[in-house]
Each structure stands twice: as C-alpha cells, then as structure tokens.
C-alpha cells in the first residue's frame, strides 16, 4: 500500500515537472524588492491570463515570508537572498500580498 502510494506520487511529480519545466523558459519575469519593510514596487503590474515568474529579493537583515491569500502563495525569503515564485495565470483584477512575518508590509499585484 505504502509503496504504491510513493510510486504514484513520484510519477505525478516527475510527469508534472517535465511538462512544466519545458514551459518555464519563455515566461515573463518580474522583480520585487523587500527593503526597509516595504515592497518595491508596492504595486506590481502583470499581464492577466499568463503564468509569470516573480523574483522576490529580501534586502532586510531578517527573514520574511512572501505570502498572498489572494493568489495562494507562501514562501520564506531569507535575508539578502532571492526567491522565485510562479504565479497565475490570474484573472484581471487586484490581488494583495504581504510579508507574513511583518504584517504591516503589504503590496498589490494588478493583473491587466
């Protein structure tokens, strides 16, 4: 039972990885910087209905967690490092994101 499960999981992950990896190369890329507990830019404009790659760089001396309940993402950003987050494709609209470790730090993603 356990072995069948693990095999199934491995197959799904591998299959998805191969197919998704092939598409990753030609994906629009955007940058966000966390500095002095502010997102720069505070409003990020991205194309709607397109999968995008967002690079989040943390220039603070402490860890942060890039998170959004609106587009369902959460990922820790260590000090002086950059993470990659794949987002979308999103419908047209505005989506909030925040630093889960410093809730006052927020930003907006605008898909248009």
């Amino acid at each position: 039972m356990m072995r069948i499960w693990l095999l199934a999981i491995a197959l799904v992950v591998l299959g998805g990885g191969v197919s998704a990896g092939a598409r990753a190369a030609d994906m629009p890329e955007f940058h966000l910087v966390l500095q002095n507990h502010q997102f720069q830019p505070a409003t990020l404009k991205v194309p709607a209905n397109t999968k995008i790659r967002v690079l989040v760089t943390n220039k603070n001396a402490m860890p942060s967690e890039f998170e959004s309940s609106d587009f369902n993402r959460e990922k820790i950003v260590l000090p002086n490092s950059t993470i990659t987050v794949f987002i979308g494709p999103l419908d047209k609209g505005t989506y909030k994101f925040f630093d889960d470790f410093h809730q006052a730090t927020t930003g907006t993603l605008v898909a248009e």
Partner: protein, 293 residues
C-alpha cells in the same frame, strides 16, 4: 508583543490541531502520551534544523527546494495517515471492545502509533521552523525582551488551549462511534494535506494548476482568518482552490476510503473462514466428549 503572540499562535494552532486529531485517534493506547510527547520533541528539534538549513533547502533544486521540501513533508504525512487508517479499519473494532472492557490494558496500536508519532513530528517541524525563523528575525531586528517573554508564551498557550478544547470536544463522541469518527477526521485531514502539497507543487511550477481558481468563497471564509486557518488545517479548505488541489483532495479521499473498505472486507472474510473452521470442529469435540462420559 501582540505581533509575536499572533504569529506564534497561528503556527502553533496548525500543529496543535493535527496533534489533537492524532491524540484522539490513539485514545486508549498505552504510553500514548510518551509517543505524542516524543513526536513533539522530535518535531521541535527538526524545526530548528530546518530553520538553520533553510538557505540550503532554498538553494537546492534550482530555487524550488522550499516547495519540494514542504510537499515532501506533507505527502509523507499523508502516506503515514493512510497507513494508519487502513490499519485501523482492521483493528479498530478490537480497540473499541478492549476499551470497553479495561481501558488501561489495551494492547493494540503499538505499530501504528509509531507512524502517528512521525505525523506529529512532521506537523511540529513544518510549523515550528517558521516560528524559529520568525523569532530569529525579531531578535535580529531588536524586538524587546518583553515581546519575547510575553508574546511567545501567550501565542503558545492560545494555540495549545484551542487544541485541548477540540480534544475534549471529541471525547464527547460516544465510544461506539469514536474511532470511526476520528478515522474519518484523519481521512479528511490527509486529503487536505495532499491538497496543500499540490498547492506547493503548483507554486514551484512542477504541476499544472488545472484552473488557477476554481471558485472564490473568500467572502464567506478567508484563509487569512483564524477560523479559516483552522478549517484549512482540518479539511484542506481553500477559499480559492486550484483544480489540481481538488484533484489531489478527491484522489486521496477515494484511495484511503477504498483502502479502508478493502482491508475491512478482507478481515471480515478471514474471520468468516475462521468461524467456519471452528464450526466444523465443534460438533466433533462435543460428540467425543459425549462418548467418553
């Protein structure tokens, strides 16, 4: 201080709810407290190791190490819960019978409880590593001692208290239905964890989303609220789920229920065979007994 208390509370709550369901599901098993306590202790150590090694985890696998790690932890827990519930469907009845007789002399459950120890450890590891990183950041940012000495215990106590509240709520379920209730809770919990794992694999671009947002119930219950978060942990609730998450949820649910049914059916079949054998043997011994007297 309140910021610290709130974050610690939310992370502790997530682990506490999982521990509560596991603790309820292993009710009556001897030395259960040792296992649950051991799982928590292992989880705390693991959380510190993961927090310290987060740079390595993040850097590995070309920048998607965090997502793969989270998904691996979640899916491991799913497999372990799956193992436990299928095991329970053949042993659950014995556990209830034994509990009805003498509560403190139950022998069943020792193999499966080791697996649930790991589930507890993984839950604590996952949420705990976030607390460690957060507190490290707070310390580095010069948060006052007051914030730590009041905030951390306050958040911890709040999360643990809610866990206990759920536990004593569950204890009110009549013993006849108790293990089937906790088993169903485990099945739903595991389905939710699988769906969360799918979310991380989508985030890492390893899985297609199959519909980025199937529906939006965030007006009814957001995942950002405490209630939304508790429901998310217990059932995998997402206000805006991706199609693939729903697929993972349903697939896990169907596989676990089918596994439970299959094991229970086999168990019933082997019991019936054993009864037939005993049935044939009984009259002979009776006539032998009659012949000798």
């Amino acid at each position: 201080m309140l910021g610290i208390a709130l974050l610690v509370f939310r992370e502790v709550l997530e682990a506490a709810l999982i521990i509560t369901v596991v603790a309820a599901a292993t009710r009556g098993v001897p030395r259960r407290g040792v296992f649950v306590g051991g799982g928590i202790a292992l989880g705390v150590i693991g959380a510190i190791v993961v927090a310290v090694g987060m740079g390595f985890i993040e850097g590995s696998l070309g920048g998607i190490g965090q997502e793969v790690f989270q998904a691996a932890v979640l899916l491991t827990a799913v497999v372990m819960i799956g193992w436990h519930v299928t095991w329970m469907s053949s042993h659950g009845k014995e556990m209830v019978q034994q509990m009805k007789q003498v509560t403190d002399s139950v022998k069943a459950g020792s193999s499966s409880i080791t697996i649930l120890l790991a589930v507890v450890a993984l839950a604590v590891l996952r949420e705990g590593s976030e607390i460690v990183l957060f507190l490290y950041g707070m310390a580095a940012g010069g948060a006052g001692k007051m914030g730590f000495f009041a905030g951390v215990p306050l958040g911890l106590a709040g999360g643990v208290a809610l866990g206990f509240a759920l536990y004593f709520g569950l204890l009110r379920i009549p013993i006849r239905y108790f293990f089937s209730a906790t088993n169903w809770m485990l099945v739903v919990l595991a389905s939710g964890l699988a769906s969360t794992a799918a979310g991380f694999l989508i985030q890492a671009n390893l899985l297609p989303a199959w519909g980025n947002q199937l529906w939006d119930t965030s007006r009814l219950l957001t995942n950002g609220s405490i209630v939304g978060q508790a429901v998310h942990i217990l059932t995998g609730y997402e206000a805006r789920p991706a199609g693939m998450q729903l697929v993972f949820w349903i697939a896990t649910f169907v596989i676990l229920v089918a596994g439970m049914r299959l094991v229970a059916w086999r168990q019933a079949a082997s019991h019936a065979r054993a009864r037939r054998r005993r049935g044939q043997a009984a009259p002979r011994t009776a006539s032998e007994a009659a012949g000798t007297t």
